[in-house]
Amino acid sequence: MPGSIDVNVGNESALDGNARADRASSQASNSVAKPSLRWNPTIRVAVFVACLLPLMILVRAVATNSLGPDPAEHLMHVTGEWVMRFLVLVLLATPLAHNGWPRLARYRRMLGLYVWFYATLHLLVFAQVYIGWSGEQLVEELAERPYVLVGFLAWLILVPLGITSAHTIRRKMGRHWRQLHKLTYAVAVLGWLHLLWLSRSDVGDAVVYGTLFGVLLVCRLPLPKPKVRL
């Protein structure tokens, strides 16, 4: 059914699916120019490096000791913000591909892995500056502070998603892979709760990300099959 939009693609999980996204886009744009959909290694490397920039800026700031006398809060804030930003990009990829802009979807696997990467950095900074690698304190934080608990849960979910994003594993998992990767939506919800519960006097960020995630999740709900074929 060339040119039709496969509604199932709308429920596709987030961490991978380049091939599927490519197919959706080629169909949506009625394109026959297959070579343009091949990976462009130069752009791929550029995107990879661009995604590392936030880390490089932080490393430079730490190395030059320019974060002031109390860098803890800044490091937590910046790493956490980038987790949320990459999550937005990951969730944006598929809807954009459906609407004729497949480029972002090609990097969805990479962006998803960056979600995991910055979330891990966020957790490492927490362990280093807030609890000093104490298991006892981690347990106390998880038990007493719900925002720490939901943040930690979100990170735990990212672990299997990250591991199964390897192509070989994905192939072996077959349809179970998509089922598993729908957990990305849970990560978004938990990440948002985390942000909401730690807001002090300003809930601005929580409102912004709540709106973005809300739109991106609602647009994935199954719609009645369109009667009119393009």
């Binding site: 730490v62 002031g68 109390d70 500056v129 000093g132």
Partner: protein
């Protein structure tokens, strides 16, 4: 002084430390640069360097609670990392914008339940009391801490001059509220009901540790540190240490304080440093002793009453400190 200089300084007499001149030099350079560039017209966005005066004071005796033995927090860190929401909510805002505040002339109104209500002028404060240096630990409710050589005199000496009446049970303090000089108070998103208010019970106010503070590191306070006169109550969280005081009232009822007003479930009237009672969103059991860095977070255990339990625990005998936080 470059930002690389945030190293913990060894324990030496603060009079031997003169980073402030370096700091002033830098400020002057900045000012000169600003003049050169012809941008002085932007006014308050450039903090006007204020000449800090040397103070005459006696130093505290060793082995007393008036002289903490921990390493001092460097001047640069203590005066560039501040909470003073009248000038913005970012830690660097006070150092950047508090220069706009006029601190001379300055008048402090003392009233309420006193026999001799009246006013104090800055000159009376600086020359009318014997100044002492007190090296205190300073613990912010946000779980960071410093060690600072303050200069001041016991609040009790100030109150004695105005003769509080027997029915006076609390002291209320107010910070200057001058919108034209305080950009933070003009912010649309600010939810604090200015002026900033704080309070103490009268026995807390009369405790010898409670210091009316006019200086730090041997000189008068820079504006971001609460010039020209602020409170230091070392066993309480930082927000109790109200800055740039213009009014002191003796009252018979517990005063409404700014943070308690804003978030009563998070900030209490007492605000005693207490590792057992967590803030709803973070633990108070540990603190980052500044300067802190990623690879040396410098986490230390928070002590009950910030280590001043021997001097103040009696004030709270029989009170449930989890309830009266």
């Amino acid at each position: 002084m470059s930002k690389n200089d945030w190293k913990t300084v060894p324990q030496i007499a603060s009079s031997e430390i003169t980073p402030e001149s370096v700091w002033l030099n830098r400020r002057n350079l900045m000012k000169a640069a600003a003049v050169g560039a012809g941008i002085t017209a932007v006014g308050e966005t450039i903090a006007q360097p204020k000449a800090l005066k040397d103070l005459n004071f006696t130093t505290a005796t060793d082995d007393t609670p008036f002289k903490a033995t921990e390493d001092l927090t460097p001047y640069e860190a203590a005066t560039t990392y501040n909470n003073f929401y009248e000038f913005g909510t970012d830690k660097s805002d006070p150092a950047r914008y508090a220069g706009a505040m006029t601190t001379d002339p300055w008048e402090i109104k003392v009233g309420g339940m006193v026999n001799k209500p009246g006013k104090l002028h800055l000159e009376d404060v600086l020359s009318g009391f014997d100044l002492e240096e007190r090296i205190y630990r300073f613990r912010c409710v946000e779980a960071w801490s410093m060690v600072v050589p303050w200069i001041g005199f016991p609040l009790s000496k100030l109150l004695d001059r105005f003769e509080p009446k027997a029915e006076g049970k609390f002291i209320e303090f107010k910070t200057l509220y001058r919108r034209s000089e305080m950009r933070g108070t003009r912010s649309f998103t600010s939810i604090i009901d200015w002026p900033y208010r704080e309070g103490l019970r009268i026995d807390e106010a009369m405790n010898p540790l409670t210091l009316m503070t006019v200086g730090l590191y041997g000189k008068t306070l820079p504006n971001q540190s609460g010039a020209p006169l602020r409170l230091i109550v070392p066993w309480k969280y930082g927000f109790k240490n109200i800055k740039s005081i213009v009014e002191i009232n003796v009252t018979d009822r517990q005063p409404k304080t700014s943070w308690q007003d804003l978030a009563p479930q998070e900030y209490g009237f007492y605000a005693n440093v207490n590792p057992e009672v967590s803030h709803p969103r973070w633990s108070q059991a540990w603190e980052r002793r500044l300067p802190s860095s990623l690879f040396n977070p410098n986490r230390v255990r928070t002590k009950m009453f910030n280590g001043y339990a021997e001097q103040v625990a009696d004030l709270y005998k029989g009170m449930d400190l989890a309830r009266f936080y």
